[in-house]
Symmetry: C2
């Protein structure tokens, strides 16, 4: 155990965060987030729920094997098969933890478990003992001990205080809290628990998670960091990784961060009204209590590269940005970089993030967009011609009309690929300012009764849209491989 004045951060972005509706991360993406969390020096990464699916078991196993600098936890219901599956995955970690949970509110015991209090207590004892045989580090969570997201901070602090006062041997355990955000009070409840003696807080980056999400890592950590006079506590987190990790999680999960989100929102350090601007000019400290550099927000311009920049300059900048990039990835990024620089001249860090993400995605793809040709307008019938090539380089081509250029392109692509799907969500955001900026498209589709997210960036948003749909379909196909389509028999 660490000293009494440390609050440990148990990040569950990859487990509870990944349960956000519509979020679906593959193993490479989970590894990328796990490495970012390791760089940020969280104390625990809850990597998944191994018993929930073979895919989750694999993800937790890979993270346990590859991410060695942080303790890796897996979630398990209080049943033997779950505890065993959890150990199967986390045993590979440098510091494994089994996290056993069990419903404990009356309403949950009655309606979800259909067991009485004695039976539930017995399940808890037996399964913690089973986990303990495998692993020294066991966490037990009585789920919904207070109603999800229902407590007011004052109450929740008292609740923790009473546990401290009334549970024998409580000094042998570390009290952990996992707060839901249904009332927007998850951070305040976590902090009230810390004040009352909790020394581990479960968080998600950007506060994602089911429904209104969980306590936001960045808010909990920065509250403790900026108020040492109040808390007399600290965390191990390297806060300069917050900004970058927040963007990574937002990109990979497709969960947007609202501009007025505390700490990591686009406006968190941006001012508008005359009065406040005057204050800032006079003395920055008048309004800002956090120096943007503390969360790793770059000061001033991030513009660094243009079309005359070479491969070496690109590599150097990617190193600065913290990308561990393979030589093969660099080849692809450099080609895309040159194409983009030809189109828009100046390339900043946000463009580079989009290029690297695009290259990493492209490597997995079975089907690639070879040609897209679109005509549209307010007095035209939008028409798209699409040619797609598979891994063997075989082309398939078709034409479609639609209600708009994206609809036309999507009908053509669906006609070629032949995976039945429904488009749930479609969004575009410009990567940088300027009319020549890249548009980053995120789509969410439902196929084979599951959700898949696709992303792509391009200066042409119709091209980006087509690539994003292909990316989502490639993922759907990776989950459920199938026979080559008819389109390929008669190209």
């Amino acid at each position: 155990m660490t000293t009494e004045d440390k609050v440990l951060i148990f990040d569950t972005t990859l487990r509870d965060g990944e349960q956000s509706p519509g979020v679906a991360l593959n193993v490479e993406e989970k590894l990328e987030i796990a490495r970012a969390l390791e760089r940020m020096r969280v104390d625990f990464i809850e990597a998944g729920f191994p018993a929930s699916s073979p895919g989750d078991l694999e993800c937790v196993t890979e993270i346990a094997k590859q991410v060695r600098g942080t303790a890796i936890a897996g979630l398990a219901r209080a049943v033997p098969a779950d505890v065993d599956a959890c150990w199967e995955a986390v045993q590979h970690a440098a510091q494994p933890r089994i996290h056993v949970f069990l419903s404990s509110s009356d309403i949950h015991m009655m309606h979800q478990l259909v067991k009485d209090r004695e039976q539930v207590l017995e399940m808890a004892r037996t399964m913690v003992a089973r986990a303990k045989k495998y692993c020294d580090d066991v966490e037990f969570s009585p789920m919904d001990a207070t109603r999800s997201g229902y407590a007011i901070p004052e109450e929740f602090g008292d609740f923790i205080r009473k546990i401290q006062e009334n549970v024998s041997n409580i000094h042998k355990a570390r009290i952990s809290v996992h707060c839901h955000n249904d009332r927007g009070l998850s951070v305040a409840n976590s902090l009230a628990a810390v004040t009352a003696g909790a020394r581990l807080v479960e968080t998600c980056v950007n506060g994602i998670g089911e429904r209104a999400g969980n306590a936001s890592l960045e808010e909990v950590v920065m509250a403790i960091k900026t108020r040492p006079d109040f808390f007399h506590l600290s965390t191990n987190v390297d806060t300069t990784q917050i900004h970058r990790t927040s963007r990574l999680v937002s990109q990979l999960t497709g969960m947007s961060v609202q501009p007025n989100k505390a700490i990591v929102g686009a406006n968190a350090f941006r001012h508008q009204s005359g009065i406040h601007q005057h204050g800032i000019t006079k003395m920055r400290q008048t309004y800002e209590i956090i120096d943007p550099a503390e969360i790793g927000l770059p000061h001033g311009t991030t513009l660094v590269l243009n079309k005359n920049s070479g491969r070496h300059g690109l590599k150097a900048r990617l190193d600065d940005l913290g990308y561990e990039i393979t030589s093969a990835e660099l080849d692809g990024v450099f080609v895309a970089f040159k194409e983009l620089a030809d189109k828009k001249g100046e390339i900043d860090d946000r463009d580079l993030d989009a290029l690297v993400s695009g290259e990493r995605r492209a490597i997995e793809d079975v089907y690639k967009l070879d040609l897209l040709q679109v005509s549209c307008g307010n007095q035209a019938i939008p028409t798209a011609t699409v040619r797609i090539i598979d891994r063997e380089g075989r082309p398939a081509e078709t034409t479609s009309t639609g209600t708009g250029p994206v609809d036309a392109a999507y009908r053509a692509i669906n006609g070629i690929i032949g995976v039945p799907n429904q488009l749930l969500e479609y969004a575009v955001n410009s990567v940088t300012e300027g009319i020549d900026a890249q548009g980053e498209v995120t789509v969410r589709i439902e196929a084979h009764d599951r959700t898949f997210v696709g992303r792509a960036a391009d200066t042409d948003i119709v091209v980006a849209s087509a690539k994003a749909l292909l990316n989502a379909l490639n993922r759907a196909i990776a989950q459920a491989p199938r026979e080559p389509q008819e389109a390929w028999s008669n190209p």
Copy 2:
């Protein structure tokens, strides 16, 4: 004064919320939000800061004249000209309030006001007295009495408690709190203050406002409403208006609401993981403490209209949705409805919202898109032909290439309109699910050193993009009218 067990809601979406970076509402939009707040039965609407600009003075005056069911407040610095300007605007209200504010922290007095404590106290007394001569209802705010967004709920509750205990005659005043969200604690701080005796909370819809925003109206109100056992208090707010008002504010300000936002986020009432779904099936109450109907979220499908629906059916549905629509507006909406229904068949409430917004915007526009014709693709040079007509119906036409179809269209439009501007932000979101959905485009431009937001929806996102830029440019022109452009002398 109301009874002791009421917490009054003072909504400042139109004042502090409108100070969010990039937000710029015109008088019609502010009136629309004010009417929504009136329907929601907030106790006070802070309509603006009359001394800050002639436009703000006009907006507050119009709201005071037209919105009669709610008290209307205006903000004023503690200087004579501000108090006078504020009264000039709010005097037309059924229940006017003057809200005088003054920096009161040491750091603000020293750096922003450059005055000592005695001088500041004297300013407060004199200016409250001046306001009181005009108006019975005066609010005084010692700005930054605690550091913006810096307090922890426990501290902030104690702070309010000490005011109650130590200020003579405090029982003659109603204690009001205005909390910033820099730590994500604004709602928790507001609730701690209420527990300690505050009886007025300043809020913004969706928690918008400068930097990380202000306490969110919906979170404060729903916390008080769902925990009568803890607070023993209530508000006057009609919570069934929350969902609709949140969407209106998000649309008009262009400030997105993240999916994991408490109460009004898209996921707030949506579940994913198997375990929780099981819980819901067994008993809805297991996980949801708020019935979605309480915030006015429609249950089940909202699909109601198709291309066979007539004008009467459309009008009836718009009435149900709470739109007070003029006959001229209905004409325009019906034409757009028929066009859309021809393209996509089924029209739901979200489509209708987009159609009504589009029609209301169109009425103000000086320049309209007459023709847009675009070709693009991954092996093409994106090319756009644009024809725009002015109010007199005179056309101007040009062609441009670009890095993508939107860039090409924007270059063509800028070539015709000739208002120098920079594109700060560009975003598209689909209005509904499905590949044939309308895309709603929001752009933010900087022109004449100010920010303007433009919006438009269309099933063709390139058409929507062109209309959104034109909408923003029309607003810029409305602010700074100018001579007809050269394009119109040589069409």
